[in-house]
């Protein structure tokens, strides 16, 4: 059964970081990303690493969980590294054969940009590991609230996200059921080359789509009958509250940013 899937990569433990207001975490993550782009030397990265280690420890996130976020990016990482390695011009040639020339500057730059990517992913992973998707969509709705004035559908987007999250397990269950039904009638989803496997997905996707649309129609009707009429005049069951911890977290992040800027000026 597919009922035990976890939502996204949320790692549900109780920690001071988990308890932070999702809005705080979202804003501080953006600040962290800006911070990474301000780093201009490796001593700055030492600071970033120290900061990440501190946050991960406080959030009780195991090192392995954190690293899992990098895996899907390994191809991009390798490509970034190689492109920088081969195509950065420089003076100090380390290796040179045929058309390939690797310089000391290129090695430095390749390592530098790869690390930047790794830290970006680790930082944002910390946000998604410690914040449930629902809390995240709440935060997005509130933070994007002011954009409603220019007709940006903040509430609608958040509602769509919640509904999508609600229906992922339901649709997964259904996929499982349809797959078994088609397999019982001789469908083969596993063998053959890429094209024949893609073709085998058609009898799975068509019923799934049809049922998803039927569900959407049903749900719209159920929502209307429960007086749903958009975000206007709606109150919230879940209230977000800024606490003292949020200010402390903001303070720590601000100190981190200041140190980064300072390190760029002072340290080599």
């Amino acid at each position: 059964m597919l009922t035990n899937i976890t939502m996204g990569q949320y790692y549900p433990v109780d920690s001071p970081v988990h308890r932070l207001d999702p809005r705080t975490k979202l804003i501080l993550t953006i600040a962290f990303i800006v911070g990474i782009f301000l780093v201009s030397n490796f001593s700055g990265y030492a600071l970033v690493l120290g900061f990440l280690y501190f946050v991960a420890r406080t959030a009780k996130i195991p090192f392995k969980m954190l690293m899992r976020g990098i895996r899907p990016l390994r191809m991009i990482l390798i490509i970034t590294f190689l492109l920088n390695l081969f195509f950065t011009p420089g003076e100090q040639v380390l290796v040179s054969f045929w058309v390939i020339r690797i310089t000391a500057e290129a090695v430095r730059q390749a390592v530098f940009y790869s690390l930047r990517l790794v830290f970006l992913v680790l930082g944002t992973s910390l946000l998604t590991l410690t914040t449930s998707p629902v809390a995240l969509s709440d935060a997005l709705e509130i933070l994007m609230g002011p954009l409603k004035k220019i007709h940006f559908p903040a509430h609608e987007l958040a509602m769509m996200m919640t509904i999508a999250l609600r229906f992922i397990p339901t649709l997964l269950d259904e996929t499982d059921k349809i797959m078994k039904a088609q397999m019982a009638r001789g469908a083969d989803f596993e063998s053959g080359n890429l094209i024949s496997r893609a073709k085998a997905m058609v009898p799975l996707l068509v019923p799934l789509f049809v049922s998803a649309f039927r569900r959407a129609g049903d749900l719209a009707m159920a929502m209307e009958s429960r007086c749903y009429r958009g975000g206007e005049g709606r109150t919230r069951f879940r209230v977000l509250k800024i606490t003292r911890n949020d200010w402390i977290a903001a303070g720590i992040t601000a100190a981190f940013l200041a140190l980064i800027i300072l390190s760029g000026k002072v340290l080599p």
């Binding site: 009922t3 939502m7 629902v134 919640t162 509904i163 999250l165 609600r166 397990p169 339901t170 269950d173 039927r214 569900r215 049903d218 749900l219 009707m221 159920a222 929502m223 209307e224 009958s225 429960r226 007086c227 749903y228 009429r229 005049g233 709606r234 109150t235 919230r236 069951f237 879940r238 209230v239």
Partner: protein, 285 residues
């Protein structure tokens, strides 16, 4: 006559779906009073679900008037008044749960009504308690059984404190034990909270438990009365492709065979009593 307030009044309501040749409902006239438990019975495609959706202003009558708590559903201004007074449970338990946590789904209607958060929390708690789902307040909906999901749906309606609960084949997709648990929950609310219930169904055994039955056939209100008045008319029911409760059928067969069994028997228990009455045991056997 009956001096209870009229909750729902269908005044010669007709409804034709867009692009359909013949109407789904034709001049249906019905009255449902405060505190009643009314079953609307009909086979597939009879128009009973259409009638339910008309009662919730999801559809508007093509002809005639539908009044819910004296609000005309056709008036745009009264649509939300109708919907907050007449809550509706649908057939598919999965497709009516919006939130990812049970208690948040129960709060969904309240959020829509603009109820302040402080007031919401006790209302959600008491609604969950009323359907005996308090233990699952923090559960994810997809982990619940069909019957439990429907009870969460009922709680979501209940939190809005409606006068009427409309169940549109709420048990059709459930297993027998889930069916029983949902019907018991709703019957309880009807009895103890005085909520008027409109129970749309094609299960005879469920209709037999109602105060009153309205039989819909081919878009018309074909019969009306208490279960004991409706079900003994076996011939008429069969003409409308409807069965009768098993015991009522058995009673009719026994009568044909020459046993003077009461025609209005509905349940196994009543049948046992009838048989005991007709063939008393001699002492010692």
């Amino acid at each position: 006559m009956d001096d209870r307030q009229i909750r729902i009044s269908a005044e010669d309501v007709s409804y034709t779906y867009d692009g359909a040749d013949s109407p789904a409902l034709t001049r249906v006239r019905a009255e449902i009073r405060e505190g009643e438990f009314v079953a609307v019975l009909g086979h597939n495609g009879s128009g009973k679900s259409t009638l339910a959706k008309l009662m919730n202003a999801l559809y508007l009558p093509t002809e005639g008037r539908m009044l819910v708590c004296s609000f005309d559903t056709a008036e745009e201004a009264s649509v939300w008044e109708v919907r907050r007074r007449a809550g509706m449970i649908f057939q598919n338990p999965d497709n009516q749960i919006v939130a990812t946590v049970v208690k948040e789904d129960v709060a969904f209607g309240l959020e829509n009504l603009g109820v302040p958060t402080d007031e919401m929390i006790p209302r959600v708690e008491s609604a969950l308690a009323a359907v005996r789902m308090s233990a699952y307040a923090d559960a994810a909906p997809h982990m619940l059984s069909g019957g439990q999901k429907q009870r969460v749906g009922v709680a979501g309606i209940l939190a809005m404190e409606p006068a009427i609960l409309i169940a549109d084949e709420a048990t059709a997709m459930l297993d027998p034990s889930g069916r029983k648990e949902v019907l018991e929950t709703v019957k309880n609310l009807n009895r103890h909270k005085g909520i008027t219930v409109v129970w749309i169904t094609h299960f005879m055994e469920e209709a037999a438990q109602a105060d009153r039955i309205i039989v819909i056939s081919d878009g018309r209100a074909a019969m009306e009365g208490t279960p004991r008045e409706v079900f003994p008319q076996i011939e008429k029911m069969r003409e409308m492709h409807l069965d009768v409760p098993r015991m009522t059928g058995l009673a009719a067969e026994l009568r044909e065979a020459g046993m003077p069994v009461d025609q209005s028997v509905l349940t196994v228990e009543e049948m046992v009593e009838e048989v005991k009455r007709l063939c008393p045991l001699k002492s010692g056997t």
